[in-house]
Symmetry: C2
Subunit: 113 residues, 2 copies
């Protein structure tokens, strides 16, 4: 994949009406898509500063450091954004399973085609 | 990645207040994440029935068959859903670039770490 480094500011991303932006999390080594969660401007900045993923929990209405309880932190390798700057893609090195079910990825089920 | 086939109905997915669910699109061969777009129940069903991605355009407020104009359709290989059933992951074989800029993936820019 081509890669360009831009001097975009965290504030220049496009957030939704709730101030959130979706972040897809992909394993940097296996390229498996692990999960999708939401960030606000503060957790985007923390993720960049601390090189570990932080999200905003819509159900608990609070910041959430991924792996804080489980130990399965995700070390940030790269943070990409899309052409509209309204979706993020975090490439990470996960310390353990991303899913609360214990599955490596939250996307472990498929529709029957 | 483990894989389970479930008899989930399209209506059983969790849609947001606007009746939409985010869908991550990944190249089934290269595993590059290509784009993220929104589906409603009707476009999830069409995607499954026609084995090509359909989305709901929030800006144009209409159904959108990916590649309809550009020819860059995405043949559906697998449609996964996450543990909460509120996010989809479509594995596809793309006929051409996913991004309107001509880039293969919409995620061609990164923050400078």
């Amino acid at each position: 994949m081509n890669k360009e480094i831009d001097a975009l500011n965290v504030a220049d991303l496009t957030y939704n009406e709730a101030g959130l932006i979706p972040c897809i999390v992909q394993d940097a080594s296996t390229k498996d898509v692990l999960m999708m969660a939401w960030m606000n401007a503060e957790t985007v900045q923390r993720t960049l500063d601390e090189r570990t993923t932080w999200f905003f929990s819509r159900s608990r209405n609070k910041l959430w450091h991924k792996g804080e309880e489980s130990g399965n932190v995700q070390r940030l390798v790269e943070l990409r954004y899309d052409c509209d700057a309204d979706t993020l893609l975090a490439l990470v090195e996960p310390a353990g399973p991303a899913c609360h079910t214990g599955q490596n990825s939250c996307f472990y089920r498929s529709f029957d085609l």
